[in-house]
């Protein structure tokens, strides 16, 4: 009774005006919030995950990865790898139109690859296209791509290549400042609504000419940095408003939706894992016993459970779902006594709180990216655990841009926490080869180098797999990083959305199939 009275009162107060004004079309909009704001919708410069997701809806690539993990038709209807694995030939879909009505042809594919390789086009993932030697159009609907060296499963490398229109740019030198970044033209299932790119939201509408017509009419992304606001929006999502999905649910909030009658938890597998990196330029950390001791002192399961929810503890640089995972490597358990013993044996004697050897101290600078929300909490846990074996840590929090510079470029850190995410190919060569471009820890192990070099040269996928398994075991021993875990990530999706399937890494791959019931 009381409820009804209050409800009536609220209505009488006019707080709920305009409920009749919403049109039926608005119900067909799929709303979702993002933690970060995509600054660019130009595929090359789509570096944030939020931008990657938007780009997926607007642009198309030649091939996709389907539900079974197989490569499936996209803009290309068929493809054939050359016999020597030195190139690939695509046959393109006919009758595809760009969002502005221009026809899509092989020239666009050629342009996209040329643009990616143009030295004046500067973007982070540029090295991903280094394997391509040349690209040629064969008629209107044929493209041949030649590689620098034989590539196994080459078609997988084209999943992430979003095709951009040749007529959209004056030349292959593409700048971040290009207007295209805010007024993109793609061939994808959705196109930018008129005036859809605004300060903090992006609105898309269905592309009526798309070959795989989407079932949802409109999509709107809104930058909502506050996670609690996102959760609120999903939690209270009603018939007329609210959001239909929260891309990443913080683990603490998963319980909230576990038995919800309006929201489903949808696992969102990413090929990514967490690690704590040791700077091998630090003399103490260059010693293997120190790294091992640190590993033995940290309780990964406790940290994982306390801060991130569910996931798998890692034994090496591959996740359990990876073909390269070596099941023979055993998970190490926490063993403070052994850790202390290892350090004692290596000559690290406790002086007060800290262990020392000569002038060297087991006291490390722990550099962290402010943007990674769970960093703070994880650091606190690690700091507390390491203290027990006489290792002290000092936190340095820096913003994202500074972090990249300090850790990856200038290598000024002792310890840091981070995540590696892989797209279609789990290639760890850049991370652990002494000459690898992403070997920011300064790791140098001759055995590892040999193994990686031979693996790279091989054309046989089976042999490659074996060698990766070997590498797994080797790195589990030597611990260049302390491998932490891979997470079970959950999206919260409204039950009004049906036919949901979330691809690893590419969130919106199957989005055209999704349906939204009113």
């Amino acid at each position: 009774m009381f409820h009804r009275t209050l409800g009536r009162l609220a209505i009488a107060l006019g707080l709920f005006v305009g409920s009749a004004a919403t049109d039926a079309g608005a119900q067909q909009t799929f709303h979702y919030p993002e933690d970060t704001r995509p600054a660019s919708l130009l595929p090359f410069f789509a570096e944030d995950m939020s931008a990657v997701r938007m780009v997926e809806l607007i642009f198309d690539s030649l091939v996709f990865q389907n539900k079974r993990g197989d490569v499936d038709k996209g803009l290309a209807t068929s493809w054939k790898v050359d016999d020597d694995q030195g190139g690939i030939r695509f046959v393109l879909r006919e009758g595809v139109k760009w969002h502005d009505g221009e026809p899509f042809t092989a020239e666009d594919v050629v342009f996209t690859i040329r643009a990616a390789q143009d030295p004046k086009t500067i973007f982070n993932a540029k090295s991903k296209f280094n394997f391509i030697r040349d690209v040629t159009a064969e008629g209107q609907y044929g493209v041949h791509v030649a590689f620098e060296r034989p590539i196994p499963e080459a078609e997988k490398r084209f999943i992430s290549l979003k095709i951009i229109p040749k007529h959209g740019f004056p030349s292959t030198a593409i700048s971040r400042k290009d207007k295209f970044a805010r007024e993109p033209i793609g061939t994808g299932p959705f196109r930018l609504k008129k005036g859809g790119f605004s300060l903090r939201s992006i609105a898309l509408e269905q592309n009526p000419d798309y070959w795989n017509q989407a079932k949802i009419g409109e999509v709107q992304m809104q930058h909502t940095p506050d996670k609690s606001a996102q959760i609120n929006l999903l939690q209270y999502s009603g018939v007329k408003a609210g959001v239909q999905a929260v891309i990443f649910l913080p683990p603490k909030n998963i319980a909230l939706f576990e038995n919800s009658d309006s929201v489903v938890l949808e696992p969102y597998h990413t090929v990514s894992w967490w690690y704590m990196a040791y700077s091998h330029e630090n003399k103490a950390l260059a010693e293997r016993p120190v790294r091992q001791a640190i590993g033995l002192a940290i309780d990964r399961e406790e940290l994982l459970e306390a801060h991130l929810g569910r996931g798998d503890i890692l034994t090496g640089p591959f996740t359990e779902s990876s073909p390269f995972y070596n099941f023979q490597v055993e998970k190490s358990a926490v063993d403070l006594d052994r850790a202390n013993q290892l350090l004692e044996d290596a000559g690290w004697k406790k002086k007060g709180d800290v262990r020392m050897k000569g002038k060297l101290k087991l006291d490390f600078e722990f550099v962290m990216d402010k943007e990674l929300a769970s960093n703070q909490a994880l650091f606190l846990g690690i700091q507390a655990q390491l203290k027990k074996i006489g290792v002290t840590t000092r936190p340095t929090y820096v913003d994202h841009a500074r972090y990249r510079d300090q850790v990856f470029t200038r290598r000024k850190f002792d310890l840091t926490l981070n995540i590696w995410s892989f797209e279609e190919v789990e290639d760890v060569y850049p991370l652990f080869h002494s000459k690898g471009p992403m070997n920011f820890i300064g790791y140098n192990n001759a055995d590892v180098d040999t193994l990686l070099d031979t693996a790279k040269a091989t054309k046989d996928y089976k042999k490659y797999k074996e060698m990766m398994k070997q590498l797994h075991a080797l790195l589990a021993q030597d611990l260049p990083y302390y491998f932490l875990w891979s997470l079970d990530i959950y999206s919260g999706i409204s039950k009004k959305v049906r036919n949901v399937y979330i691809q690893p890494f590419y969130y919106f791959t199957s989005f055209p199939e999704w349906e939204l019931s009113p």
């Binding site: 506050d226 609690s228 959760i231 603490k252 306390a306 801060h307 703070q376 846990g381 507390a384 929090y397």
Partner: protein, 272 residues
């Protein structure tokens, strides 16, 4: 002064006293952020051993609340000091001086007054490495004109009063008369009110910026601002880790404002 005002003065005075005590004592309480973490008591509801419950790291909220006063106490005092001392002097000079001195000071004050405070603080935080001390310093400087305006009005009003003129006529130096008879004896209620206001503003900015822009105190060091910022990751059914500091912020700010106002009112009544 009515009965309710007197009660309000006592209540707000108690809040101020508690905050000041905590601010003075907090630096001497041993607290090692690393030792406070404990995963077997995460997000516990308030109990006897943890009066205000524990947060996501299993840290005692009451302890962090107490240690968190460190983050704003000294910066707040500094800001209040800058604003009130410099503001009072500038206001007195602007109210008493003539000619170019007055013009320069009035112009400078007006200039500072046109800067939007929070926006300017954000600008400074973008350019320099932000710390609460820096924020408080800028806030203190930006409040100088506010204090100066009130003091100036008072000095102008008193400057023509007979007893002040009498003092000057009796041979006291006008600087002494301004400093002692006007600023010290007559303007202290104004200064108390403004100091309390600036102090509250520093707490407001520290917490606001910690919440929005990570410009405040960094974890693991506790501050009320970064405690409230936990609202972003906490589940809705465990609100106390941010609710407690939020309540503390509201209580402290309103307490300081009320105390400043009521104490000043009482002082003004006493002077009259």
């Amino acid at each position: 002064m009515g009965r309710f005002s007197r009660i309000g003065l006592w209540l707000s005075g108690a809040i101020v006293l508690v905050v000041v005590l905590l601010g003075v004592v907090a630096p001497f309480i041993p607290y090692e952020p690393a030792d406070a973490v404990s995963y077997d008591r995460v997000l516990e509801v308030p109990s006897v051993s943890h009066v205000l419950g524990t947060d996501e790291q299993g840290r005692d909220i009451a302890m962090r609340l107490v240690k968190g006063t460190e983050a704003f106490f000294l910066p707040g005092l500094m800001a209040a000091g800058i604003a009130v001392l410099v503001g009072a002097l500038a206001g007195a000079v602007a109210g008493y001086a003539t000619g170019p001195v007055r013009a320069v000071i009035v112009g400078a004050l007006q200039l500072l007054d046109t800067l939007p405070r929070l926006v300017f603080i954000i600008l400074v935080c973008t350019i320099r490495n932000p710390s609460v001390t820096l924020i408080a310093f800028v806030a203190g400087v930006l409040f100088i004109p506010t204090v100066a305006a009130v003091i100036r009005r008072k000095v102008e009003a008193l400057g023509s009063e007979d007893y002040i003129l009498a003092h000057i006529a009796h041979g006291f130096h006008s600087v002494w008369v301004i400093l002692y008879h006007i600023l010290w004896l007559q303007c202290w209620p104004i200064m108390v009110r403004q100091a309390a206001y600036v102090f509250g503003y520093v707490l407001f900015v520290e917490t606001g910026l910690s919440y929005l822009g990570d410009y405040g105190v960094q974890e693991p060091d506790p501050s009320w601002g970064n405690m409230v910022a936990q609202v972003r990751s906490l589940p809705p059914d465990a609100p106390w880790p941010w609710l407690v500091p939020a309540a503390a912020i509201v209580l402290t700010i309103s307490g300081f404002l009320a105390f400043g106002n009521l104490a000043a009112r009482r002082g003004e009544e006493a002077i009259r």
